[in-house]
Structure formats: C-alpha cells, structure tokens
Amino acid sequence: MAKIGVFICHCGENIGAKVDCTRLAAAMGEHPGVAVSVEYKYFCSDPGQESVKRAIRENNLTGVVVAACSPRMHEATFRKACAEAGLNPYLCEIANIREQCSWVHTDNGQATEKAMDITRSMVEKVKRNNKLQPIEVPVTRRALVIGGGIAGIQAALDIANAGQEVVLVEREPSLGGHMAQLSETFPTLDCSQCIMTPRMVEAAQHPKIRLLTYSEIESVDGYIGNFSVRVRMKSRYVDIDKCTGCGDCITKCPAKKISSEFDCGLGKRTAIYTPFAQSVPNIPVIDKANCIYFKNGKCKICSKTCQCDAIDFAMPDTFVDLEIGAIVVATGFQVQNNSMYGEYGYGTYPDVINGLQFERLASASGPTAGKIQRPSDGAEPQTVVFIQCAGSRDPSKGVRYCSKICCMYTAKHAMLYAHKVHGGKTHIFYMDIRAAGKGYDEFSRRAIEEDEAAYLRGRVSKVWQENGKLMVRGVDTLLGRPVEIAADMVVLATAIISQPDAKEFAKTIGIGYDEYGFYNEAHLKLRPVESSTAGVFLAGACQSPKDIPDSVAQASATASKVLALFSKEMLEREPVVATNNEATCAGCWGCVLACPYNAIEQKDILDRSGRVIKRVASVNPGLCQGCGTCVTFCRSNSLDLAGFTEKQIFAEVMGL
C-alpha cells in the first residue's frame, strides 16, 4: 500500500498569499494513499527538511511529494533529505505550485484549485515511481582545450601543472591569439609579447601538454567524462619533425607580396611563412592559395632551399582521434569590420585604421618596428583622432552591447602615441569612459592628465579627405558645439564580436550561444565558466568581450572545474535513461536514427546455436541522456524512460 507524504510549502508569501495551503493540505490528506499531508512556512529550511525526514521515518512513507517551487530550485535538496531518511531519492517528486501556479494567478480560489490538481497529479505519479540507482561512469582524465590564445594557454597550463593531461588545439599555425598582436598592455603598459611568449613556450614544452596547431575540431561525440573528439590536422606541407625552423625557405620564397593577417594588412608575408617571428611552434606553413607551385605547378624554391628535406607538397590532412574527459572552449573573438560605417571612410582612406592595426604600428615587432607611421605614405602623423564605440553600443549599425575594452585600449593608444611622437596631438571622441577595474580609472586619467589626450564627449558624423588631411567632423556635446579637426590619422575603436564561425562551431561541440554568437554560460552569476553542456567549460573572449586579466581569471576558473571533475574516478549520472522492451520491439531502427546522442545500437538476439532470431534496439545507458526523443518516436511503445515511465506520465495526466 502506498503511504505518500505531501509537504506543502508556503514559500513565505510567495505561495501562501495566493494558495490556501491549509485547504490544500486537508484535501490532499483525503486523497487515497496519502498518509501525511502537512503545510509549513519554508520546507527548504533546516527545520523544514528535518520535519520531512521525521515524517518519513515515523510513517514509513513510500513516497514524498513536496508542493513548492520549481524542481530546478530544490528537487536536489529534498531528494537528498529523503535519502538521508532512508527513502530512495527517486521516490521524491516536486509539485510546482509556485512558478506554475501562485506566481501566475490572481484569483486565490482558482489558484488553490489548480494547486490541488498539480499536487494530486504528482501524488499519482509518485505512487508509481520506482527506486532508481545512480549510474556510474568512468572519467577519462584528459582535457581538451580549444583555442591557443591567452585564455586557452592559461587553462592548459593550469590543468597540466596539476598533473593532468591536456590536448591544446589551435587552428592558426601558431599559438598566441590576439594577445600576441598587441603592443603594450593596459593598465601597466608591459610589453605584450614579452609576457606572452614565455607562456607559449612553456605550453609547447610542457610534458603534459600535447600541442596540435594548425588543427581544427572535426567532431565531438559523447558526454561529460567520456567525449570522443576527432581533430583534423591541416597539412602544413612542412614536416614538423624534420623542420628545424631555420627560416631559409621563408627568405627565399618569391611570393612576397601577400598581405599579412597577423599585421592586419599593414605588412607583407611570403607564401611559406610563420605568422610572426616568435611563433610557437616555429615551423612554417605553406599558404596553398598563394603558393606559386600550387597555382601553376612551377617553383618549389622552398623545397630546394630546405636543408632538411622537410617540405612535402603532397602532404595530406591527417586526423587524430582523442578520448577526452572535459573540454575548455577558448576560441576568442574577432574585431568587427568597420566598412559598414561608410561615413568614417574605413577601407576607403588608408589612414583610417582600427585599434588592432594601431597595435601593430605601435608594436616593436610590427611592420614599422614600433614607429607610428601612417599607412598611406609612412609619414609620422602629427594629429590623431580616435573614435570610440565605432560599432559598439550602436544598435542601428553595429552591436548593442559595450565591447568593454575599447575605452581602455584607446587611452593606451593615446599614451603610446604621446610617448612615441613628441608634440603630437590626440583627440578622442567618446560616449562614456568606462574604466572600471583595478588601476583602470587611474590609467585613463593618466592619459588625460600626463599625456594630454583631449577627450571630446560626442559622436563623429563624417570623415573626409581634404588637402592631404583627414577632416573629422563631430560634436562636443559638453560644450554643445560642432567640432572639425584636421587629422593625419584616424583610429576606430572597433567592436569586439564573436568569431565568424562561432555559431557553427557551437553546434559541433553542442553548446549554446547568444544572439551575437558569444557562448552562453550555464548561469550568468553562479556558473559563469560552465556551458550548459556538462563537461564543457568556457574561457576568455568567446563568452563575452574581455580583457586579458578577466580572460586569464576565467581560464584558471575553468581549470579548477576540470580538475574537480578529474578528482573523481567515477562520475555519478542521473539514472533517467531509456530502456527497451525487447519482446515488443519491431526493429525498425527509427529510434537509432532519432536519438540525438547516438545512444541506441542494434542488438542481435541469438538462439542457443548462435542463430539470429531477432534484431532489436538496445540503449547504452552510459550514452543515454534521458531526453525521451526515442520514446516519443517508438510506434509500438517499446521504449520507456526510467523516472518518467509511460505509466507514471499516464497516472500524472489522469490525476489532473
């Protein structure tokens, strides 16, 4: 005989003010099979939970229904309390009478009626619940970090330094990401490459890190603790084992006029190249699209030059299959293309550049060896106008959000310029100066007070060329008057946006993204570095625009999550998995196709002599995520979902 306990929570006024809990408790007390029906102000409190436990022990309850808030809030709490009182936790169900009832209704009488229906339906379900045991699955202790920017490198190093294996996958020929392109970094003005390259080298040489550069993720299957990942190693056409990184081939390559991606088009590179001098690994790749040999079958100068016979024009892409326990996604960002602002002349006037290009101009390893020269004629600009929020906070043309770092890097640019071009003038058009962060406001004040950056609060309406100058027309809203400045160079603080393939890539690994393509965290406040897919974590600017300190902090946070996961040998999983009735299964394999997790296999049923008598579907409980897709598909109702069986759902519906 069922002995169900019903525990009705007031949730303070949240439920109590709308639902007549006393009436509800009395009505449930009358319902067949209910042994206890009580109300209380806060069942989730310690005394509340104690009273549930006491009731279970005293009445030998066979099931518990807590009529309260959404199961997302406290299902775990009450299931744990039940377990502590000796009741299988899966014999406890939550009837949601808050979000689905008291919060959404105005009439007390009707809300109470509805609360009765919801609770009764759960009582009927619980009567048919079965004891379930959590499923244990082994954890593969090897992490995959995708993206070799500062965030990815940091996460990889933290995990590896704790003694766990890491595979670090970067799709460019070298580690480094955007940080490798920066000149000096706010708020301390230390040289970006000087602090970055030691990290790159450390990651490449770490015995626990396997580095796969010029590689992309082909597919991800499986689930937390047990992912199978396939990586495509794109052909470099240079044998990574033979090449010594001498660079002779690069010097000799006759295709020299290729615009350098690393220098944002301000410099040139060869067809066989490394993105920058300190590349890690220091092994060149051949850019097939621009290589003379690949274009017309003649050249091979690099291969003739190479002393080590490392160049192989027939080298194919290769694949690496990896068993992985946890994934850190650190795929970073890109800067928006500013050509959508026709009025700023980006793309038309060579001396209108973006912030990242300015970084390359200011970088000692950049195309001008750190001298600020304008791209058109190499002259040193005497007046520079910076335009902030060129794309950010602009719902009509750009993006709605604040890119967070541009105020700071523009202040930095103004400073770097002042240090390099004595007597030069800077004007900065801004909307607000957002300099929250340790040492950040001080930093931007320094730009104004010591380096004489002239901040003008207002927008720029137009940039045009006149007598060899770039004329900038804007408005100074604080003085309430239009301004016109004759500049030698204009720098746009371009919006930070997601990677061009961010959405596609999210589908490959199975995580969510927002409308802009930034990856969604499981909870903005409480689980900011976890994606909503168990075992996949987010670090750096792929989640939202971030500066280096934030990216690094988030990366270390993902490492601690990964290490916590790896601290266990086995992982407990919810036993909500599908099972198949082999006697009734018709073997149509619809479920095999329908299952989004590839959890269903075909199984042969043999007789004693080994002859196949029947083929049926068989669910692998390790892979099944309990989504129920197969159950809805199966025509003959052979599949059923533990914890949500057809019987239970039917009773629930009929209980309404």
Binding site: A583, T584, G590, C591, L593, R635, S636, N637
Partner: protein
C-alpha cells in the same frame, strides 16, 4: 502473349529452377470480380495465377509474415507501384532484405494491365519518381475536396461521425503492410493510452494515432480503406498526412530502400514552421 501468361511463365521458371521458393500473387476470388491472394510453391500451380484490373490488394504485407524470409530464400510477389514503394519502406525499416524479393511489377490504367520492367526494387525508382512528380490526378476525389473546404469545426464533426462507426476490429491494421508491429499500441495496456472499447473517444484515439503512425509511411495502396467493414474513408486521412509530409519535408514514402523515416531524421533545411 498476355501479361498474365508472361508472368505465369516467369513464375514457372523461377519456381522450377528453385530461384524463388514462393510466388505471392492473385487467384480467383469469391465472386468473378474479386481476386484473392494466392501463395504458390509448386510450378504446377502457376496456372491458378491471375492478373487483371481486379488485382487491387497490395500484397507486400505478406512478405513480413513471421518466418517467411528467415531462411534467406527468395520470394516473388505481384506488386503495383504502391506495393513496390511499400517494399522499399519495409527494407528501409529493416523488416526485410530487398535482395530476397523478386518483383512482378504491374500497373492498371482503366482496365488495361501493363507490366512494369524490372525485378528488384531499385529498378523501379523511375516509376516511383514519376508518381511523386506527376500532377495530382485531375479527378481528385470529390469527398476530399469537400473536406478540404470545411472549417475545422465542420471537419472535426465529419470525422467524429465517421469514427463513431468504428467497431475496433483492427482490420485496417491487419491489412496494412506498414502495421507490422509485434505489439501494436492498442494492445499495450500498461498504461492503456488508447481505450479499447468502441466509444467515440477511444475510436478517435485509435484512428488518429494510427494516422500519425502512418504519416510519411503510407503508400496509399487503399488496403485499409477497403478492409474497413463500416466504410470509414481512411484513405482520406492518410492522403492528407502524405500531402503534409511531402509539402513540409519533401518526403515521398517509399522512394528507395534506404530512405530515412521522416519523423526520425532531420535535414538542416527542414522547415520549422511548427516551432513557435
């Protein structure tokens, strides 16, 4: 030589050479205008085979009779294009191995019987494609047009009236080649989703659920419709479902023996008009 004679000769050859163990065809029925399924295993019986415009029943369902194909021997069967499509679906749903099926294809227009060329399902793909692409028959049934024009309320009461007649004999299911489940949903009583007594709710549940189970699978052979002892126009429901999946997913049931079931698979460009 008439097609009937040609096919008799071919059946004789196949049976006597042992190429097939059985020929499933049509024989004399209870009245001169009716044909009944005939199962012959001896070359001496081929004279009993008949082929004329009265050969309507889709015989493909017999292929999945328990144990018939488990010895991996071949079976020949007389099929119209709908029957051939049904074999494709049965193969796609792993109910049979298409290699084992030898087809005697034919089609009827007016009272003319034509032979369809080919033996294996793959050889009929052009025939099937031309049916898919062919313009909807000019004389699409009057009743169908009428129902299409009804308001949802009118349509609902139309079907309510029709389904009220259902006596839950399950003849439709027995006659349908796609209803091969070892345990049909109506036979499952833990829980009893579909009420077995023949009152209007249970009747509605049964017929609607069956229509869903046939969507994207029904080849519109008409077996169910003809089997129904109380003349419920089941063909109309299935026809409507077939139109839906064709329109929404470009899915024409039984195009090939590897066609993926429409409700268990997805293409990236599937329309999502039903997701609000």
């Amino acid at each position: 030589m008439s097609i009937e004679e040609q096919y008799r000769t071919r059946a004789k050859e196949l049976l006597s050479g042992g190429a097939v163990k059985m020929v499933i065809g049509y024989g004399k029925g209870t009245t001169p205008s009716r044909r009944r399924p005939l199962f012959i295993t001896s070359p001496d019986d081929v004279e009993r085979l008949m082929l004329d415009d009265a050969c309507i029943t889709n015989l493909s369902g017999y292929l999945v009779s328990e144990g018939l194909l488990s010895d991996e021997k071949r079976v020949a069967v007389f099929l119209r294009p709908e029957g051939i499509r049904a074999v494709n679906i049965l193969a796609a749903e792993s109910q049979l191995d298409a290699e084992q099926i030898v087809i005697f294809g034919f089609d009827v227009s007016g009272n003319e019987v034509q032979a369809l060329k080919g033996i294996h399902v793959e050889e009929f793909s052009d025939v099937i494609r031309s049916i898919k692409e062919g313009a909807p028959e000019a004389d699409e049934e009057e009743l169908f047009e009428k129902i299409e024009k009804m308001s949802p309320q009118e349509r609902f009461s139309f079907w309510q009236e029709e389904f009220a007649k259902c006596i839950k004999c399950y003849a439709c299911r027995q006659a349908c080649p796609m209803c091969y489940c070892r345990r049909c949903i109506v036979d499952s009583n833990q829980p009893q989703w579909i009420n077995t007594s023949s009152h209007s709710l249970g009747n509605f549940e049964w017929n609607i659920v069956r229509a869903f189970h046939l969507s994207g699978r029904c080849v519109e052979c008409g077996n169910c419709d003809r089997a129904c002892p109380v003349n419920i126009p089941l063909r109309l429901i299935n026809h409507r479902m077939a139109e839906e999946v064709l329109g929404a997913f470009d899915h024409f049931a039984g195009m090939s023996k590897t066609q993926e079931p429409v409700l268990a698979s997805f293409k990236k460009d599937d329309s999502e008009t039903f997701i609000l």
